[in-house]
Each structure stands twice: as structure tokens, then as C-alpha cells.
Amino acid sequence: MSTQTATFPATAPPSAGVLLPAFTLWWREVVRFYRQRARVVGVILSPLLFWIVLGSGFGTSFRSGQGAGQQNYLDYFYPGTLVMIVLFTAIFTMMSVIEDRNEGFLLSVLVAPVPRAAIVLGKVLGGTTLATTQGLIFLVFAPLVGVHMTLVSFGLIALTVFLVSFALTALGFAIAWPMDSTQAFHAIINLFLIPLWLLSGALFPLSKASGWIRWLMYANPLTYGVEALRTLMYPEAPSSFSFDFSLTASILTLVLFALFMFGLAFALASRRTTKPAA
């Protein structure tokens, strides 16, 4: 009998499936985060400082121009800061993929009978949970910038934050998976992710951007996250888009963005390698 055609014997332990391993990887991600107090403090305080310092500074500088319509800059900058919190939490959380690989933890997961989809799902949902939580904590300051949420708008804001978190965490996973050093990861963040945020309408409105920058902003999926949040927070403020693009369309764009990024992360993690895995 050739071993190639052997079927699984009945005595083999049942497969762990997808959900149980994904749950346990999610759980670890969350527990690890909250056991490192410095990370918790940093992730909440630094965007807050950033928002107040940068927002106040820019606010006075740009007051003379039209800026973002009638809006105060601190108000305008608020959704963008929320997206930045989510971006940083999501991306930095996935630095754990590199740490796990360098330590050996990842190896022990890779040799377990766990589908790769479960590994990606568990890690990405872990990061998503953290990023979404941080984002929602930041909403405490919403009344200060004149945002009054109904239950429905809060639900939609939470959904948007979740989708942006999920997409960005999956993106972080896809970037981190092939890497073996956190330095390289930082380089990618500076080169690629900061511009992604800068060109999302978080810092300056799309309507005021010049030609090619504007097209980059349209092509940037994060733009639709910022736009969705701004529409939900300031229903009276004018749309940044020069064409008619509804909130639903923005959210659908985010869903596609999230699915695409998850697919990318899954595809990368599913490759079996002939190179050293550690």
C-alpha cells in the first residue's frame, strides 16, 4: 500500500476545525495586549496628544482659509484622528506576527493541525478587537467636538471602525507575514502606511487637494472610511467628494477593502515554503 493514497484512519484525533483555534489565537492576542500596560497607555494617550497639539496648531494656521467649510479644524480633524488610532493599533498589533515568528511561538502553531485560515482569522480578529476598542474609547471625546450620536449613528460608526480595523489589521498581517525583522516593518509603516493615512482626507479635505493628489485620495480605500465617519459624525457638513457617493457606498467599499486584505493575508499565509520557516 502506498502511503500517498492512505486515508485518515478512524483513530486519528478529530481536527480542531477553524473556530476553536481562531478563538484561542484571538484570546491570546487580546490578553497579551492588556498585560502590557505601557502598550495600553501609549495607544490611548499618543493619538489624544496628537489630536490636541496638531489640531490646535493647524486650526489657527488654517482659520483664514475656507478649510473644511464652516468647521473648526479640531472638529474636522477628529474623524481622521480616530482613523489614525485604529491604523496604529491595528498595524502595530500585527508586529506580533514578526515577534511570534522570531520567538518560536508561530512555529508551534504552524506544526499544529490548524488550518491556515484559522491562524489568519484569529490573529486578525485579535488585532481588530484591540483597534476597534481603542477607536471606540476615543469616541468618549466626541461630545467635545460637537458630535451628537444617536443609537443608530453610533452603531454605524462602530461598524465603520470595525471594518477599517479589520482591513488594516489584515493589511498589517500581510505585510508582517514574510518579514523577519521589526525594523523592516517600521520602514514599511513610514514609507507606505503614513502616506496612506495622510492621503485619506484625515488631515486635509479631498475637495481642496490638487489634481493627481486628489486621484490618489480617491484610490485610497481609507478615504472612504474617513468620509463615512465624517458623514456619520457631522451630517450637515458638505461631502468631500465631487460626485454623489452615499454612506452605503462608502461602507460597501470598506467591506470590499476588508475582504480583499483578508484574502491577501490568507493567500500569503497558505504558501508552504521550501525556505527556512524560522
Binding site: M1, S2, T3, Q4, A6, F8, P9, A12, P13, P14, S15, A16, G17, L20, P21, F23, T24, L25, W27, R28, V31, R32, R35, Q36, N102, E103, G104, F105, L107, S108, V109, L110, V111, A112, P113, V114, R272, T273, T274, K275, P276, A277, A278
Partner: protein
């Protein structure tokens, strides 16, 4: 060089699985090439059930590559590896259910407690609930850490962390346990404990244990050994059989000019004298009788002399013509190829 030993089993795999007492692991003509070098160059061997099997070799010998292929982390360039009846290349999922793996690198999460680490590990293998809880307590008792169950692993000593690694690898009752340099960084006491535990596993739970090592004294504790050098199997057998094969004794001479002395001994006595590590090395039957002759023949030239029974290192020298590595050298990281000194 006598690398093609008769002890290397080249039986056809198709006949194997039909026989009683079939091997738990079958490796056949395994070849692995990285871009610029060949890490494994046609390696074949079997591991029997409930055997403590050692993979001995210096860094760069291919043992880490072999370990990664057996643990389904890497796909070989060609050849096959069958574990518990499943093909490591084509049926990685089935193989993973039957193996427990302990890596050289630390895989426990320091921020989690001992219990949490095992709870997490159990979920990866589909264990849950009361069954998992009972199993965790059982395995923690086995490794003597039940009382530290609720403590974070970062508070543990190196030896205790290793025991948690081992507990992780054994949690799902694997038939095969693969360990990569498991005693790295452990003090002698912890090393001894670990090896005792591996022997208990083999005897009481019939687990087949495959362990890579670069330490001769660890290799001597294995039931059987495969010695690797530069990607090829240079010896396979029990440590006793391998050392017996050399026969005779090993004489080492220290001298001012070992090269000249070796030449002169060769021409005078017609024995095989080589220079290794600034010492003259002679493999000879009845070494004690040869000693007076050689001392008298070269008065004043020999500074010191030792006669010993062959060790596994001598087996390695005998088969490859060069030293395993310098005695005091710290092992280099496995990714870098260490060039051993050739004579």
C-alpha cells in the same frame, strides 16, 4: 572516506508498510537544496516505534533542515518522509496530528501562565473543556509544575520553561515527539532531568522520540543514532555498535612539531597517523602495546600522550576525515554554515 555504510537501510518503502513492526518514521532519499547550497543530499533511514533516536551532526550538517521537513514546516526538494503512515509532504495535516514538536527557539508565551499556555495549545489540537483541563493538570504533574500552574511563564527558570515546552509538545498524546536541540541553554542538572524524562516517555508511553543534538554525550544516550555531515548520512546504528566498529584504541600525542612526528611515525611503524588539532592521532589495535614503542622511538619529542577507547567523535572523524568541531567553540547559529577544519 567511508560514507556509504552498509548499515544504511535502503529497503523499498512499498515493502515496509506491509511488514509487522513497521517503522514509525521512514525517510527516503531526502534531498533539500537552498538557492546556493545543498543542505540534504539523499538521506534515508528508519525510526522504530518507541525508540529514542538521535540526529547528530555539527551545524550545517543538515539536521535542522531534516527536522523542519519532518515537522512539516518545509517541503523537501525531492524524496519522501513518512511519519505514522502519513506523507509529510502531501498529508501535512494528518502528520501534524501525530507529532509533538519542541523547538530550539522558545515557543511558550511568557505573558501567559503555565496553565494558559497549555490551554491555548490544547485548543489548537481540538481539545477543550473538562477533558482539556484534566489533561493539562496531568501533564503539569508529569513535568512537576502543577504548583506553578497559575504563574506567568516569565517568572520561570530556563529549565522550567523547557519543561513547559515539553508539556506543550506532549499535551495531545503524540506518537512521535520531535525535539530540536532541547537542552540548549540548560544547566547540567536540567539537562539530565530532561533526558531522564525522554527515557521515561519512551518506556512508559511508547512514544518515539527523535532528538537533534550536537553534543556527543547526549548522542550516547540514544538507542540509535544517525550521524549527519554536510547533508549526508555518514553513520547509522547504536552508539555501541558505531564505536565498536572503529576497533582498537585512539592514541593522541602532543609534540612540538606534530606534522613531522606524524610523518616519521607513519614511515617507521606503517600505522595511520594524522594530525588533528595540533596533535598526532593514531587509530590502532591494542594501543597499550604500541605506546612503549612509540615513546622509545622518539625520545624527548612527545610531550604528552593519551590512550582512550573510541568515542562518537572518533566515529565522526573516522567516517569524515575531519573533526566534529573545536571543543570549546560555541555552536554557531544553524543558519550559518560552519566550516570544520579539514586535515
Amino acid at each position: 572516506m567511508t560514507s556509504n555504510s552498509t548499515s544504511i537501510d535502503l529497503a523499498h518503502p512499498a515493502q515496509h508498510s506491509e511488514q509487522a513492526g513497521q517503522p514509525i518514521i521512514s525517510v527516503r532519499d531526502l534531498v533539500h537544496r537552498y538557492q546556493d547550497r545543498t543542505a540534504l543530499n539523499g538521506v534515508s533511514f528508519d525510526v522504530r516505534p518507541a525508540e529514542l533516536f538521535g540526529l547528530l551532526g555539527p551545524n550545517g550538517s543538515g539536521k535542522t533542515t531534516l527536522f523542519r521537513i519532518l515537522s512539516t514546516l518545509m517541503v523537501p526538494t525531492s524524496g519522501s518522509a513518512t511519519i505514522a503512515g502519513f506523507d509529510a509532504v502531501h498529508q501535512p495535516g494528518a502528520v501534524r496530528r501525530h507529532i509533538g514538536v519542541v523547538f530550539q527557539a522558545q515557543s511558550v508565551d511568557l505573558k501567559l501562565t503555565a496553565y494558559e499556555n497549555l490551554w491555548h495549545q490544547g485548543h489548537l489540537y481540538g481539545l477543550r473543556g473538562a477533558e482539556l483541563k484534566a489533561r493539562i493538570n496531568e501533564i503539569l504533574t508529569r513535568v512537576g509544575l502543577l504548583d506553578r500552574s497559575a504563574d506567568r511563564v516569565e517568572t520561570f527558570s530556563g529549565g522550567m520553561q523547557r519543561r513547559i515546552e515539553l508539556a506543550k509538545g506532549l499535551l495531545h498524546h503524540p506518537e512521535v515527539l520531535l525535539l530540536d536541540e532541547p537542552t540548549t541553554g540548560l544547566d547540567p542538572g536540567a539537562r539530565r532531568d530532561l533526558w531522564q524524562y525522554l527515557q521515561i516517555l519512551r518506556d512508559q508511553e511508547q512514544v518515539s522520540v527523535i532528538v537533534t543534538t550536537h553534543l556527543m554525550e547526549e548522542a550516547e544516550r540514544c538507542d540509535r543514532l544517525a550521524i549527519l555531515n554536510e547533508g549526508s548520512l555518514v553513520a547509522l546504528g547504536t552508539p555501541e555498535a558505531l564505536t565498536r566498529e572503529i576497533g582498537g584504541d585512539i592514541i593522541l600525542l602532543e609534540a612540538h612539531d606534530p606534522q613531522t612526528l606524524a610523518d616519521r611515525i607513519r614511515s617507521k611503524f606503517q600505522v595511520d597517523a594524522t594530525v588533528m588539532d595540533n596533535r598526532v592521532r593514531i587509530e590502532i589495535e591494542n594501543g597499550h602495546r604500541f605506546v612503549p614503542d612509540v615513546v622509545e622511538a622518539f625520545p624527548g619529542e612527545i610531550q604528552s600522550l593519551s590512550v582512550s577507547k573510541p568515542t562518537l567523535e572518533d566515529v565522526f572523524i573516522h567516517r569524515t576525515g575531519h573533526r566534529f568541531w573545536n571543543e570549546d567553540a560555541e555552536p554557531a547559529p544553524d543558519t550559518r554554515k560552519k566550516k570544520t577544519k579539514k586535515t
